[in-house]
């Protein structure tokens, strides 16, 4: 309920649209209620005109003009109602989407680690649509449907008590039947959606793993999997839709019968002159009018239930307080040198300690290699420096300043990062390299590309630097993407460079090339490389061996070969493979 109130408050931020939508809605309802009344009067006046002998009398002219004007106004107000309420829904979803984006893009890594992209997207698309119809069809229309459901029976009761009550009872009966049925339909639709999701998973896996399917002769096996959800969907959709058809059919039957009853009972009233023909006709026109809210109300319930759930899902994200805390009084840093110091740093992730009492001094300009098994904490150590994750205890400082006292943007601007899983954007290579620094001129871009040893490759492409990277960089090899990412990290000429396993998933030749490029890149800046390939580290100033979140050995390649059993083992395994 509180979510509904918040959505209403969001609507109230567009007071003109809200007020106009309600005014137009009220006038349009008024005009539609007036219409049967005018028709009834007209029929009576027309009957009375038989005595006068001419239809073209003042009363008739007045009434027909009133009908015409009423119709015109009805049209205009209905347009106004749907335009203003839909616009309101559109404006609120614009606001929500903007908030959602601005918030999500700044949420910290821990949040995104927990929440899949698909999950957030479905909130932004499907749930947003439900909120939109909650506003336009729920909040802005339901009052008028309820209004009709109250006012029309009152008018009917006013013109004849018993017949009016009968119509009211029948309408209420159908609405009462419709509401639980509608909720049942909704639960069926939730099942259908689940089945649709599993249908699409089977399909997607079958297509992605088609070579496996073919080589294991599993076509029929997959077919059966697909068939079971496919079958369920068909039968569930049929039963869900038929529930709806059933009460629509019930409504059609009841109201047609009601019309008959009114006509038959009305006859006696007309004969006894308790009711004029016009009034009887008016009664019939009102009955026609009453049918639409009777059917609509059931649907509104579903709109509200779905819309409120959806707004909760969207607002939950917007409310999530998962941001890195900026310092209240930020320290000012200029000309960062790149001295990094871990002073007894401990960090836990998901309540599991992943780094324990890390002590590490890195002088500016040094290149440091971090080596260890997957899960030893080397990548995690990395992610602490740009504050992707905040440490639990100890101090992590840059040039002597605790990084938590530095403005986040300044801190990150001084760090170039090449992630393990390089992600390029579906824009040109040039824009990708300049992603960090859109103001960079072409010479700067070429310079960065040259250092990363990717310039000559880019030149061979038909469109050179203007080649558009296809989705997820599919048109580039792993090594090419890796080197573009290195160029991208270098574009700001950062004093600190972090490379997370830059040679993972590339073949040996490419590895050699990347290592060569790195030799140049690491000059004059503090560089950290996390890897488990010994060959990438031989030339670094310091190698840190990690195991289970702790630093177990430190030293140069030759030191460690003598002192570190873990390093020895890694070196042995990797060179053995090559030598054999």
């Amino acid at each position: 309920m509180s979510h509904l109130i918040r959505i209403i408050k969001l609507c109230a931020k567009h007071p003109f649209l809200t007020i106009f939508a309600f005014l137009a809605g009220s006038f349009s309802m008024g005009a539609s209620i007036l219409f049967p009344k005018l028709l009834g009067l007209t029929i009576d006046t027309a009957t009375a005109s038989i005595q006068i002998g001419s239809i073209f009398n003042q009363g008739m002219i007045l009434l027909t003009s009133a009908i015409f004007i009423n119709m015109l106004l009805l049209g205009l107000f209905t347009l106004g109602k749907s335009y203003f309420s839909e616009s309101l829904a559109e404006n609120v979803s614009y606001d929500l989407r903007k908030k959602f984006f601005n918030h999500v893009i700044n949420l910290k890594f821990a949040f995104h680690d927990k929440t899949h992209t698909g999950n957030l997207m479905s909130r932004a698309i499907t749930d947003m649509n439900s909120v939109r119809s909650l506003i336009s069809s729920g909040i802005m229309d339901t009052p008028f449907q309820i209004g009709l459901l109250i006012i029309v029976p009152i008018l009917l009761i006013n013109s004849h008590l018993q017949l009016g009550l009968l119509s009211l009872v029948i309408s209420i009966a159908i609405v009462t039947i419709a509401i639980p049925l509608r909720l049942k339909v909704r639960s069926l639709w939730l099942k259908i959606q689940k089945n649709l999701a599993s249908l699409s998973t089977t399909l997607q896996e079958d297509l992605t793993g088609i070579t496996i399917v073919k080589s294991f002769g599993a076509e029929n096996y997959e077919m059966n999997k697909f068939q079971s959800s496919n079958k369920d969907i068909a039968s569930q959709i049929i039963s869900a839709e038929l529930i709806r058809s059933r009460y629509v059919a019930l409504k059609l039957f009841a109201f047609l019968l009601l019309t008959g009853i009114v006509l038959i009972a009305g006859r006696n009233l007309v004969i006894t002159e308790q009711l004029s023909t016009g009034e009887l006709a008016q009664f019939l026109f009102y009955l026609v009018m009453l049918q639409s809210p009777v059917i609509a109300i059931g649907g509104k319930i579903a709109v509200f239930v779905r819309g409120i759930e959806a707004s909760k899902r969207i607002l939950d994200i917007i409310d999530a307080d998962w941001k890195i805390k900026e310092p209240l009084v930020p320290a000012i840093i200029k000309n960062v040198k790149g001295n990094i110091r871990f002073n007894d740093v401990t960090f836990s992730y998901n309540e599991i300690t992943t780094l324990q009492n890390i002590k590490l001094d890195i002088e500016h300009g040094m290149s440091v290699g971090l080596i260890g098994m997957p899960g030893s904490g080397k990548s995690t150590l990395f992610k602490l420096i740009p504050r992707f994750y905040d440490i639990d205890s100890g101090i992590l400082s840059l040039d002597g300043n605790d990084i938590r006292t530095l403005p986040l943007e300044d801190l990150r601007n001084n760090i170039g990062i090449v992630p393990q899983d390089v992600l390029l954007f579906p824009i040109t290579i040039r824009e990708n390299i300049a992603y960090n620094k859109p103001t960079a001129d072409f010479n700067e871009i070429i310079r960065a590309a040259k250092i990363a040893d990717i310039h000559s490759f880019i030149e061979t492409l038909p469109n050179g630097y203007d080649t558009i990277v296809s989705e997820r960089g599919a048109n580039l090899s792993g090594g090419q993407k890796q080197r573009i990412a290195i160029a991208r990290a270098l574009i700001t000429d950062p004093p600190i460079l972090l490379l997370d396993d830059p040679t993972a998933s590339v073949d040996f030749t490419t590895e050699m090339r990347i290592n060569k490029a790195l030799e140049i890149v690491t000059q004059d800046r503090t560089t950290l490389i996390a890897t488990n390939r010994v060959s990438s580290l031989i030339k670094t100033d310091l190698i840190v061996v990690m195991e289970n979140g702790k630093i177990v050995n430190k030293g140069t390649h030759y030191n460690l070969l003598e002192t570190s059993p873990i390093y020895q083992e890694l070196y042995y395994i990797q060179t053995e493979q090559k030598a054999s």
Partner: protein, 596 residues
Amino acid sequence: MNKIKKDKDEMVSNKVSENSSKKSVVKQILPYLKKEWKLLAMALFAMLIFSSSKAAIPLIIKFAIDQFVNVPQQNSLILISLGFITLAIAHAGSFYLMEFSLLSSAQKILYQLRQDLFDHIQKLPVNFFSKNSVGRLMSRVLGDTDELQTLSDISIHMIGDIMMLIWIIISMLSLNVSLGSILLLTIPVITIYMILWKRKATLKFLQARSTISAVNADLNVNISSVRDIQAMNRQNLNIRAFDQLNQDNKKAALTAILMAASIGPVVTGLTGIALVMAILLGGHLVVTGQMTIGTLIASVLYIQLLFDPIGKIISHIAQFQKSMASGERIFQILNYKKDIIYKEAKEMPKIKGDVTIEDISFSYDNKTHVLNHVNLSIQAGETLALVGPTGSGKSTLAQIIAHTQEEGVTSGCIKLDGNKISEFNQRSITKQIAVIPQSPFLFSGSVMDNIKFNTNITDEYVYKITQYLGIHEIIQNLQHGYDTIMSENGNNLSIGQRQLISFARALVRDPSLIIMDEATAHIDSKTEIMIQQALNKLLSNRTSVIIAHRLSTIKDANQIAVLDHGNIIELGNHKNLIETNGKYAEMYQSNGSVAA
């Protein structure tokens, strides 16, 4: 259904003709409609009753008013009551019957279309999948089938609405010719206006839709790469870019909303004009005794019914075009010829493992050859390694041996134990061959499900195999052991763990021939040793074909074939080839035993 398509497959050429016209869509959807003809006939019948009964409501009201209400001396109470009861039953009953038969038939057609399409796509040649993205094929199977299925629904509603329009016109004219014909003049006016409006509105709706797709695409890119964006401090720039798209969409959406709403006043305005004419003219006829008051009321009721079917017919036409476009896309795929490995043939007996590759040539397009007259033979229990640069044809050769691809083989054959595989049933061959791909693909479901994949083996047998491979404990140590559920693409397991599971999946089938694309993906050294050990057990006493990336791993192979542009340029064992000092020796030395 399958029979019909199979016949067609043999006739239609692999190249999809560009001008696959609407006619052929109709022709190809017909078998699906025919299968549901009983339901569709019932729907049509119900639709006719429904539209007729709806059009009859004003008539019975007129009759009641003229013959009963305003005529005190006559007593046709029973007739009127019966009339209303009959009409109410017919109207409501036909509505339900129509909905029931339309829904059931539409869902059955949709079910069958999806089933056929899924089955067909699975059996298309391997290179079809490199040309068509997963996303695109998914939208064919999920989206386009849904659009096409509406075809029967639209057709019947179209008939119903035309029927309804005809009934209304006839009734209005029969009530009073002169009044009726004047009122009907509004039909051409509203029809022309609606057609023009629809044309313009469709454009605005398309604009609104394409702007919202741009918004969602941008959102998707930003969320999925949020870590990189934060690492590079691009949030503010991206927020601004997103806001621009968001605003563009708002603008386009508001225009579309106005456009959609704008048809309303025209319809009500025209209804108003028609009403005024009906009342004044009809009233005049009533006053002059040429018409009854009941007729006047009926005319007013008809005016309110008149514009509804016209609007519906116009939107049916638009939907019809959309369905047709979807149909074309679906049948394009259905007309694409299945790989010829899927054919009725005899069962391959249990194979020992002698493999003969006889004069195999392969081409995707009949012009450039991926393989040129390749000859090789492997004794049961031996290992053949295929080596060569990307594009040398080694993967294609492996696929042909595995019998997952036959379409495109222009000469030669593969023999297993001396039997030509092309003469045997595909399943009976693939059952005996295990393929281990480079990047292990796991399906959603548990580790156990993945190992058992498409077999009827027991849990105990699985344990036996994993223990033999030395990976039982690794699996047991996973979060939920054998019941660990794979997340999307198996991302909750490391590449090494996934590879080990894929070994187990291969071995539980007790294959006579193993075909393996050796992994290059970097895994840590300890896992690598484990994989190597498991692999040795896997391959012992079995015939194997290995696509090698790291030359160090295939030094013990009985034969090494070096491929280049579809030709075998060198053949021998490691020692021979090093001595020959050719391409192999060069590859071995130049990159420290690692080949691309």
